[in-house]
């Protein structure tokens, strides 16, 4: 399977959406929905794209079908770069690459019979006469487990699972070589999910279809995909063969995702990695590794002797300060939450000890930081914050609480045949930052 040239090759694909303001459409920023992804799909293979909502997996799929024009990068389909296709070539491409959608209710025109909906792709591509088309539609309806007589019925007469079968029939009627399935079963009940997944499997074998399956449900992905790519904030953090990726995940994000799946094994209760926080703003992605703001395994500097959990808390604190959240007004409210907001009279500075203790409480550091140096930095920062000097606090944290995860973009590491990840923990030579930054140290 993997010897010949892959059917689909995606190279450094990017799709940015500009955010504009005013009448002149002045660009004030970009949402980097897809930000440089690479993967390949072979003929007859199922490739899964997983990630949380907003990670760019659907945009990636739409861009591959050229429902969106890519900002940069190439997509080779059967050797041709589809980003350079003209209108006629694009139409030919779309015969070969089809899509099914999440919500079977809204993907059909309620006033068209099933036969009309299924015939339409054939008409658009100028295929067959009416009787041949009807014959093809009836044949396909039977293959997806419905009846030929259903051709004259309307979408509302079918259940959700049946509608999804019709959706699949419509996608397959042009005999495509690639199918993009965007959350094809997440709107369906579990008992019906299994039917649709089995059907996908069956058709793949029968037609040698390549499938790109997009899902946030890792159970579904594990069940039917040959290879999986894990996306986070527009980037692929890990790509590998399904079994390998699920049994031996290399990236902390993959580990967290897998561990978050509720399992039916009662012994597994609460034995899980927990991700703190939610996905950051894609218009302003974090520096370095984009996952470092939530990563439970974010790398501490060499010269600190800390529990991993404490370092995570300190990084959360740093991030909060960097976002300019801990202003003196906010600290005042945290110190005296009962005071009426209108009558608040915020002084120039706050008692340092109280600020330190309220911040320790907020970040779960009451039981001590462990490392003397790190604790001193924390106290010094609280002191700057208590005096209302946010800038000095930011500088101090920037120079003292350093992590390679925030400083540098992680390189892609080969994890063996057909398995790669992008994490500093996995890349050789990217040892934790040592205390080389003496120039900015405080003592």
């Amino acid at each position: 399977m993997s010897t010949g040239r892959p059917l689909l090759e995606v190279e450094n694909l990017k799709k940015h959406f500009p955010m504009t303001r005013g009448m002149m459409k002045e660009e004030i920023g970009r949402v980097r929905a897809v930000d440089g992804i690479d993967f390949t799909v072979h003929q007859g293979e199922t490739f899964g794209l997983v990630g949380e909502s907003g990670c760019g997996k659907s945009t990636a799929a739409r861009t591959i079908l050229r429902l969106e024009d890519p900002t940069a990068g190439s997509v080779y389909f059967d050797g041709d770069d589809i980003t350079e296709y003209d209108k006629a070539a694009l139409k030919r491409y779309r015969r070969n690459a089809q899509m099914i959608f999440q919500d079977p209710d809204s993907s059909f025109d309620p006033r068209m019979s099933v036969g009309e909906s299924l015939e339409e792709p054939l008409i658009v591509h100028g295929m067959g006469d009416r009787s041949l088309r009807r014959h093809l539609v009836k044949d396909l309806l039977e293959r997806v487990g419905l009846q030929a007589e259903d051709i004259n019925r309307y979408p509302h007469e079918f259940s959700g699972g049946q509608k999804q079968r019709i959706g699949l029939a419509r996608a397959l009627i042009l005999n495509p070589s690639m199918l993009v399935a965007d959350e094809p079963v997440s709107a369906l009940d579990v008992s019906v999910q299994a039917e649709i997944l089995n059907l996908l499997d069956e058709f793949q074998d029968a037609f040698g279809l390549s499938i790109i399956l997009i899902s946030h449900n890792l159970g579904v992905v594990r069940h039917i995909c040959d290879r999986v790519g894990v996306m986070y904030m527009g980037e692929l953090v890990e790509v590998g063969r399904t079994e390998e990726l699920f049994t031996d995940p290399k990236h902390p994000y993959t580990r967290s995702l897998i561990s978050a799946i509720p399992s039916t094994d009662l012994d597994d209760r609460s034995q899980r990695v927990r991700l703190s926080g939610s996905v950051p703003d894609p218009a302003d992605p974090p520096r370095g590794c984009r996952f470092h703001t939530r990563c439970p395994e974010v790398i501490p500097p060499d010269h600190y002797d800390l529990e991993q959990e404490t370092w995570r808390s300190l990084m959360d604190f740093k991030q909060r300060v960097e976002e300019r959240h801990l202003t003196i007004e906010q600290l005042y409210v945290m110190l005296y939450p009962d005071e009426d907001e209108e009558e608040m009279d915020v002084p120039e500075s706050l008692p340092q000890e109280e600020v330190t203790s309220v911040l320790s409480g907020e970040y779960g550091l009451e039981s001590g930081i462990g490392d003397r140096k790190a604790a001193e930095v924390f106290e010094a920062t609280s002191g700057h914050l208590a005096a209302g000097d946010l800038e000095t606090a930011i500088e101090l944290l920037e120079s003292e609480y350093r992590t390679v995860c925030q400083q540098e973009t992680p390189p892609v590491t080969d994890e063996g045949p057909d398995h790669r990840s992008a994490c500093h923990l996995r890349s050789e030579g990217a040892a934790p930052l040592s205390g080389e930054s003496e120039s900015v140290a405080t003592d």
Partner: protein, 343 residues
């Protein structure tokens, strides 16, 4: 388990009168919820799990809905016979609700603090300043960081998971003894879902609350339930402790549900579709999708819940004598012949 349950539903029937006929959404459901316990109601869409939970505090629109029969005893009192005022004072102050979509449950034009205060002030006699203080405490309780400053933010400034935390804070505003959560994590990502499930667990330990948790996801059930009620087409198919349901499922429907989870070894869909809600089949509601169905399953009423050893009961005639087991599949036809012959 000798103490009186906090909530006891007996033979509840909630029907909807529609143009197509009477929809028997809930058709004779009974179960108990004890203090400090999490009961999960699980089933496919259309099984009546949401209507059951909404019937408890009469949140269903009446008409077209109607509680035709049965009782809901809360702390010994029958809610179905209470006046509207009585039910309203129960709702919110003793029974809190959390819904699936946090977006729809919050009002976008008020700060979250205002919305929590509103819930507090409508049930408790406290000053505005005290209510504000309570709101901050509640936000802290549900794990919103920097609660004192976040209390004045608007819903759109919170992420989906954080919004659900706010909704939970509102539901907790009056120290309810019971929380009814209808698919509270279905709209969330798995990573966020895990956080919210942790929160429910933590709250229950801290506040000793009873929780009714409605979900279609058996993974979530395994994660948080003490006891499970499996519903199908308005009927209870099986109920029992979470260990019994997962390690020793008795009803063919429960077995089938567990077998069609993706990620397991075999992926066995359940053939057929949910029966008609206006004209349910005779006998067991599941019989036409059940591989173990024999002629007796196709006539009469849904079999009663037969008690099995331990905290476990099942509505299936194969367990009539109290223990029993499902027959081997190849024996099913022979059983029909034998029973037919005896007749």
């Amino acid at each position: 388990m000798t103490e009186q349950p906090l909530l006891s539903i007996r033979d509840l029937k909630t029907h909807f009168h529609t143009d197509d006929g009477v929809v028997k959404a809930v058709d004779g459901v009974s179960f108990d919820v004890h203090r400090g316990e999490t009961v999960c109601i699980v089933g496919e869409s259309g099984s009546g799990k949401s209507v059951t939970s909404e019937s408890i505090t009469q949140l269903i629109p009446m008409p077209p809905g109607e509680i035709v029969e049965g009782s809901v005893y809360y702390d010994g009192n029958d809610i179905t016979t209470m006046t509207e005022d009585g039910v309203r004072s129960l709702r919110g102050s003793q029974i809190g609700h959390v819904f699936q979509n946090p977006q729809g449950a919050l009002n976008p034009v008020y700060t979250v603090g205002y919305q929590i205060r509103e819930a507090i002030l409508s049930h408790r006699d406290v000053s505005k300043a005290e209510a504000r203080e309570l709101a901050v405490e509640l936000l802290e309780e549900v794990g919103i960081p920097e609660a004192p400053t976040r209390v004045d933010d608007y819903p759109h400034e919170f992420s989906g998971g954080m919004k659900q935390r706010v909704v939970i804070a509102i539901a907790l505003a009056c120290d309810p003894e019971m929380l009814i959560a209808d698919e509270p994590t279905t709209a969330l990502d798995v990573t966020i879902e895990a956080q919210i499930l942790d929160l429910f667990r933590h709250l229950q330990q801290e506040l000793d609350m009873s929780i009714i948790f409605i979900t279609h996801d058996l993974g979530v059930v395994a994660e948080i339930a003490d006891r499970v009620v499996v519903m199908y087409a308005g009927k209870v198919m099986e109920t029992g402790s979470v260990e019994k349901i997962f390690e020793n499922p008795a009803h063919p429907y429960t077995k089938a549900l567990l077998e069609c989870l993706p990620g397991q070894a075999g992926l066995e869909p359940i053939p057929g579709a949910l029966p008609s809600v206006t004209d349910p089949p005779n006998g067991c509601r599941f019989h036409d999708r059940c591989p173990y169905a024999i002629d007796m399953c196709r006539t009469g009423e849904q079999p009663p819940l037969h008690d099995l050893p331990g905290d476990h009961a099942v509505s299936c005639i194969h367990y009539e004598d109290g223990d029993g087991d499902l027959p081997e599949l190849e024996d099913v036809d022979r059983m029909d012949a034998a029973i037919g012959g005896a007749r």
